[in-house]
């Protein structure tokens, strides 16, 4: 018989070291007595195992199971794990899938108990606000876990409360977090007067009592999930007996009370409120747009449409660009300047046209100091569509000209191959006209093709001008 001594608690490192040594020496589970803590064993020698034995390679699920099971209080845990490892190394590499195997089943129960304990500690631990000597916020908790799980809960609490300073005390160990590093400490005693002077703690108890519906009292279900052993450390649980006792009487009172006579039941006010809420003017709509959050974070501000209400032509572009975003005005960047020139050549006065975009915010990726334009997705275009439609309904143009595919998508709800379908198009509520976006012209390599494309664009605008006149 060989005796292996491990530290009290969840001694994962010690177990790992011992396991390597035992495997290297070929010592089987029946030849080992696992001894935990300082208690001397009556059996076997504690002859040191080789310190430099090579690591044992185990399937990942087995490693995870070991990490969990060593946290259990069961004194047999190390022996059971040793048996598991032995069988895995002897060829049963998938044995954890064999859930009906007695050893696998037994270990699964230990694992489940540990995971349940972890979950309950995550759930039922309560922090209390205390003050450090320097007056800084400090959160302190006392909890009594069933198993040796304190260290295993640390990642959860660090992740959740990274920006707070906190201490967790338990009878089997403690944790301390100072916003930068974690200190694992020894077992502790229950601190005195934890929730003294904490109005939130008082508020929580009142919340807990108020959220209970006496007509559904079911203490069995409650105890199945929150056994009595946890109540002592849950301040709100003090109220439970009285809540249960008074429930039947409260329900009886509700049933016996006569139905309240309905007072002023006319729905006029509610109906009127619903009718009133739609924006009634372009200015009101614009206030809503300005107050809204961009769908894609980053934009400086919403860029509103510009131009006279009642304009014969409304021109809809894609979205504001870098310069538009900075200035808060549509079509002021390079593409906007090109549009202005083309409008002039087509005989359209820019100031007489209503200019807007399908999407009201600049979408970009930051590349160093540069902000690179990104096309809006179909979903984003849809998101902004209500505003665009509402906007057009206030402007009431005779013709809506869309520049590029995004604007055409916004007005038609489908993807339009712009170069193939450019020209007049029915937009449902509006007479429409589809053409390219001036930024498309800017991207063409200089040369004959680019000149021709620009001339086509001007021709489109001229045709649109004619249409707007005719329908007027």
């Amino acid at each position: 018989m060989r005796r292996v001594e491990l530290k009290d608690g969840a001694d994962l490192d010690g177990f790992r070291r011992a396991l390597r040594g035992l495997v290297a020496l070929g010592v089987g589970p029946d030849e080992v007595v696992w001894s935990v803590g300082a208690a001397p064993s009556l059996f076997g020698d504690a002859a040191p195992l080789p310190a430099d034995a090579p690591p044992v390679s185990l399937p990942r699920p087995v490693g995870a199971l070991i990490e969990s099971v060593v946290c259990h209080r069961d004194p047999e845990r190390y022996a059971l794990l040793h048996r598991l490892v032995r069988r895995v190394l002897r060829g049963e590499r998938d044995m954890l899938d064999h859930h009906a195997d007695p050893l696998v089943h037994r270990l699964a129960l230990l694992d489940k108990a540990v995971r349940r304990d972890l979950h309950k500690m995550h759930a039922f631990l309560r922090f209390h606000e205390v003050r450090d000597p320097d007056g800084a916020e400090h959160y302190l908790a006392w909890f009594e876990p069933d198993h040796f799980i304190v260290e295993a809960t640390a990642p959860f609490f660090v992740e959740r409360f990274e920006s707070l300073v906190w201490t967790i005390l338990t009878p089997v160990g403690s944790l301390q977090w100072d916003r930068r590093s974690l200190t694992v400490g020894p077992a502790a005693l229950r601190p005195e007067g934890l929730d003294r002077d904490d109005r939130f703690a008082e508020g929580w108890q009142r919340y807990y009592e108020s959220t209970f519906n006496p007509a559904r009292v079911n203490p069995t279900a409650m105890r199945a999930e929150m056994p009595r052993k946890y109540w002592a450390n849950l301040p709100e649980a003090a109220a439970i007996p009285a809540m249960i006792r008074s429930a039947p009487a409260r329900v009886q009172a509700m049933i016996e009370a006569e139905a309240a006579a309905p007072r002023h039941r006319t729905p006029d006010k509610a109906v009127a409120a619903m009718a009133r809420q739609e924006p009634a003017t372009l200015a009101e709509l614009n206030r809503i747009i300005l107050a809204a959050d961009p769908l894609v974070p980053g934009a400086t501000q919403a860029v509103l449409g510009e131009g006279p209400a009642g304009a014969a032509i409304a021109i809809v572009g894609e979205q504001p660009g870098d310069q538009e975003d900075m200035e808060g005005r549509p079509f002021v960047g390079p593409a906007g300047q090109l549009l202005t020139r083309a409008l002039e050549e087509a005989g359209i006065e820019r100031d007489a046209v209503y200019l807007t975009n399908a999407v009201k915010h600049f979408k970009f990726v930051a590349r160093g100091k540069r902000r690179l334009h990104q096309s809006p997705t179909a979903g984003e275009v849809k998101h902004y569509r209500w505003w665009l439609m509402k906007e057009l309904s206030f402007v009431r143009p005779r013709l809506v000209v869309t520049l590029g595919a995004t604007a055409a998508l916004a007005l038609t709800g489908r993807s339009v191959p712009v170069l193939r379908e450019r020209g007049p198009m029915d937009f449902g509520d509006w007479n429409g006209f589809v053409t390219v976006h001036p930024s498309h012209l800017l991207r063409l390599p200089a040369g004959k093709g680019a000149e021709q494309a620009y001339r086509d664009f001007v021709a489109d605008l001229r045709q649109a001008r004619g249409m707007a006149k005719r329908t007027g």
Binding site: F124, P214, A215, P219
Partner: protein, 409 residues
Amino acid sequence: MGRTSAVDDALLDKLEILADAAKYDASCASSGAKRRTGGPDGIGSTTGAGICHAYTPDGRCVSLLKILLTNYCLFDCAYCINRRSSNVRRARFSVDEVVRLTLGFYKRNCIEGLFLSSGIIRSPDYTMEQLMLVARTLRRDHGFAGYIHLKTIPEASPWLIEQAGLWADRLSINLELASDRSLKEFAPEKDGTAIKAVMGQVGERIIEAKEEKRRFSPAGQSTQMIVGADASTDLSVLETSDTLYRRYGLRRVYYSAFSPIPEASSALPAKPPPLQRENRLYQADWLLRYYGFTVKEIAAGGEGGMLDLGIDPKLAWALKNRERFPVDVNSADREMLLRVPGLGARAVDRIVEARRHTTLRLEDVARLSSGLKRARAFLIAADHHPGGLTDRADLRQRLVAPPKQLSLF
């Protein structure tokens, strides 16, 4: 912000009123959100699985701070304690107060986040905007990474609901009653078509955002139906749910057995329905979503469109379809194993996995499933055949424990 000045008596009084007013909403789930942490400057995390931080003596869990922004309401829905003709005490939180309470309770590890609903004040748009502002303040100004569930106001303008989806983990729109007719009768200002239009809108945005890798209500949408306030049968309730799951991609439908409320309206039935009805509907809902049952099959287990209150719907179906049993655990396909009473989806998965390694005996099955007592009449294992048990006339009595009075302590 000083410790004592942060919360005063007036705020705690409001909390009591507005928690009480919110307790009839069945949902308190905080699951389904992507993993997320607040980091060194923010606060909180979501783990993907929800955490119930306490249970009240009604057996329901407390996972979120579930409150109303206000219980003033323009509407007059008969089943609702906050309807405008009710005489309850009224209160209203400011946006800042809800934010403060949420952070205060969160830091004490009492909650996973916030479930915020509201009566309708001024206008649906105004109310929706206030709800959205709470979520935005928590996320943007405080780096809050906990769970946020907003109850949308279906009558609010579409763009406000879109804004809410940017900040919330889950949006819900309560259908409340299974049929449009009941809705007309009990909730005169509500419009069933509008509710479904919002569900459609939210459902569409969720799908788009997923495809385009944007954030929009990432934990999906849910709804609630009140059971027993109107004459709807279980069949019609389940048919409605089935449609909601399939057409709008809802994550959950909650069933809330109508329970007596103070200040009840005379339009309501005098007696509450048995709470067991709600439980059976949840079981049926589960069969619908995870066990491959159709609404028709489930309903056929009961009588006249109502589920059997005495036994769970899967057992009810099996007892009426005994010719399909017994099923051999060592050879049956997964679909059929899922229909065995007492075997849950997890147990079935483990059976399928384990039988690749061994031929299962009854004691093996006992280690894989905790429901063997009910399952054995319907199962064949290597060392077990139920013989005539499956067809015995008194099988139901043998499987159902006689009802006993529940102790209150």
